[in-house]
């Protein structure tokens, strides 16, 4: 009796495992760590919109290599300390491919995990050069440009088009914000523009009136802010309250609808650099139809880049199979035709070219492309 009692659960467990192994359908798991909570959630929403639409469309067409794609949504909160745990969750789920992370501060620590585990990951949103410069990964790629492309692009626009007498640069002291602000600073210094102030503000503060008053006394023609929209929204709103009527400019991390909600009419005349509006690109009409079909919005800085990431993964896996090492090699050696244009990678996973554009916002929260 006792022996039976002991053996039975073990036998049952083996039986269950065998059953599970037998009935498990082959799915291709794609890990999608992105912000699902916290102030930067909408970047996660954009990535989900892009990646999941691509996945739904591909699954309907039969999947990749006959396998249905399974998306694993994981929260990284756009926080550096959640980066490695989120990346580990991707690893533990058994996924060997990922569309990973929006925020540079989160991506930089996570890259090590993907590289060590040999997981092919593409970030549609992290723009800091540190993501690929520190360990020069083989398995990590981007479908977005770098801040040392975006910063100088913004800087050149300022020098050539705006020609300000005095510029103030603020940043949020984080990887992304201070990175892009420093790039702009370097470009402006080379162009001989007078930078009267370069200062950091705290993320998460509600009251920036001290630094706004300081700006008021300084009287700049342009304020460039490197960081995300929660802080810029408050800066814009409080600048207007205090009667500081200067034009602001920011990188793609600020450019989204929530900024309009926080800043209200103070968003008028804001300039932002963003990936070019790929929804207007010729040849993407069928993709836009897909977004409509699955009820998701194609707008947003990272939506099309996330869709492109899935396209690249699908192309590569269809070509060489599901071995991440072969996929990584294939990605380095080939060009891809995607919704963001032709994609070519250099040895460390950065795009060889990427289109940024300058957009201007009006008081109702609509933006129009003004350059190129």
């Amino acid at each position: 009796m006792k022996l039976t009692l002991r053996i039975t659960p073990i036998l049952l467990a083996f039986g269950a495992m065998a059953l599970a192994a037998g009935t498990q359908a082959e799915t291709l798991k794609i890990g999608i760590p992105q912000p699902m909570t916290g102030p930067n959630t909408q970047y996660g929403d954009q990535i989900q919109a892009g990646a999941l639409t691509a996945i739904d469309a591909m699954n309907e067409a039969g999947g990749i290599k006959g396998m249905q794609i399974e998306a694993l949504l994981i929260d990284d909160g756009c926080e550096p300390k959640q980066a490695v745990p989120a990346a580990n969750r991707v690893v533990n789920s058994g996924a060997q491919f990922a569309v990973a992370h929006a925020c540079s501060g989160t991506t930089v620590p996570a890259v090590n995990v993907y590289e060590q585990e040999g997981i092919v990951a593409i970030t549609p949103g992290a723009t800091s050069p540190l993501v690929t410069d520190t360990i020069k990964p083989h398995y990590f790629f981007r479908t977005i440009g770098r801040d040392d492309q975006q910063g100088p692009f913004a800087g050149r626009y300022i020098i050539e088009q705006l020609k300000p007498q005095k510029v103030a640069i603020l940043h949020d002291k984080q990887t992304y914000g201070s990175g892009v602000a420093t790039q702009v600073q370097k470009t402006l210094e080379q162009g001989g523009i007078n930078i009267a102030m370069f200062e950091g503000i705290n993320v998460g503060d509600s009251d920036y009136s001290a630094v706004i008053s300081k700006l008021k006394a300084l009287g700049p023609d342009l304020v460039y802010f490197g960081g995300y929209h929660p802080e810029l929204g408050l800066l814009l709103r409080q600048a207007r309250e205090q009667g500081l009527a200067v034009q602001f400019m920011g990188p793609e991390g600020v450019a989204n609808k929530d900024l309009a909600a926080i800043a209200g009419p103070a968003i008028d005349r804001l300039l932002t650099t963003l990936p070019a509006d790929f929804t207007k690109r010729e040849g993407n009409e069928a993709v836009l139809e897909q977004f409509k079909k699955y009820n998701r919005s194609p707008d947003g800085a990272f939506t099309m880049t996330a869709y492109a990431a899935m396209q690249i993964l699908a192309d590569a896996i269809n070509a060489v199979g599901t071995d991440p090492a072969k996929v990584a090699d294939y990605m380095h050696e080939n060009s891809f035709d995607t919704v963001i244009g032709k994609v070519d990678y250099d040895a460390k996973g950065d795009l060889k070219q990427f289109e940024f554009a300058v957009f201007q916002w009006d008081a109702d929260g609509n933006m129009t492309q003004i350059q190129p």
Partner: protein
């Protein structure tokens, strides 16, 4: 030098409005500590809940409904105060009252747990993202001064914060000084056990303390929501830490101390941002705290702990 005066005036105003909020929240910390010797780490979350209730009330009334703005603000304040009073009462009964006779550390951990619970409670109910509060009070008082014609701008929403805070401080001081409950509170903060032995219902006084603290924090929450215009479930955390620092600065356990500490911390942060660098403003504010505690360990207005033999 006359160029400096307008900037100083502007930053003074900024500092006072920031300090007013810290003071409102700091009072809650200091009152609870004064009576039961415990730091209520969930207090910052009560402030955040007050702000959210204000926003919900505003949405319920509807911006375009034609209700005059002062009435809308009054409604937001009243509803927020009532709802957070219930929260303050409930938090005390759930997280602290059962642990009243435990070692000091236990209610502290319970408080931290309550703080995390409330943050996620609101995040689950309202979403973890930033929510925008429409500007109800727009416009500002402006005057130019100084040789360079610098315009000192005092937004009405910030003036409102300062005025309401002053009114609430006066109200609270009068209440503590002259009302029976106020006198009972003072008795409890001097010696809880003795007050109990003398027939004061200490449980009731403790509950009232939590409720008053919550109500003040709620007022702060609604005012800040209107002035800043952005809310998320985690604003209570940062504000709570700053307000706690302010309470310690002014002398934890002393209500005038909390008011003074709040204003001082607000001014220190603002002047540090203005004249040193925005990057280091928190460092300066906390260095100030360390320095003051080095020379006056119980804070500026704090009473030295008397060892009762």
């Amino acid at each position: 030098m006359s160029d400096l005066l307008p900037l100083l005036t502007q930053q003074l105003f900024n500092g006072l409005s920031l300090g007013a909020i810290y003071a409102l929240i700091a009072i809650g910390y200091t009152m609870v500590y004064g009576i039961i010797g415990m730091i209520n780490f969930a207090h910052g979350e009560i402030y955040m809940i007050g702000a959210y209730v204000g926003l919900v009330t505003l949405s319920a009334i509807g911006i375009g409904s034609g209700v005059p703005i002062p009435l809308m603000i009054l409604a937001m304040l009243v509803v927020a105060v009532l709802v957070t009073a219930v929260y303050g009462f409930a938090v005390e009964k759930i997280a602290y009252a059962p642990l009243r006779n435990s070692p000091r550390l236990v209610p502290l951990i319970s408080a931290i747990g309550m703080s995390i619970f409330l943050q996620n409670w609101v995040a689950t109910g309202q979403g973890a993202r930033d929510m925008a509060v429409p500007s109800l009070v727009t416009g500002s008082l402006e005057f130019t001064m100084g040789a360079s014609d610098f315009t000192v701008t005092a937004p009405y929403s910030r003036i409102m914060i300062i005025l309401v805070t002053i009114v609430m401080m006066i109200g609270l001081s009068l209440f503590i000084k002259y009302s029976r409950t106020g006198q009972a509170s003072r008795a409890c903060s001097q010696d809880l056990r003795m007050a109990n032995l003398l027939g004061i219902d200490t449980s009731r006084i403790i509950s009232i303390t939590f409720v008053i603290g919550a109500m003040l924090a709620a007022v702060g929450g609604v005012l800040i929501a209107l002035a800043i215009g952005k809310l998320n479930p985690f604003i209570g955390f940062i504000a709570g830490i700053k307000a706690f620092t302010a309470a310690v600065l002014g002398g934890i356990g002393s209500i005038p101390g909390a008011m003074l500490g709040g204003v001082l911390l607000g001014l220190a942060e603002t002047f540090a941002a203005a004249f040193i660098s925005s990057q280091y403003k928190d460092i300066v504010a906390f260095m100030l705290l360390v320095l003051i505690l080095l020379f006056r360990p119980t804070g500026l207005l704090g009473k030295p702990e008397v060892e009762k033999v």
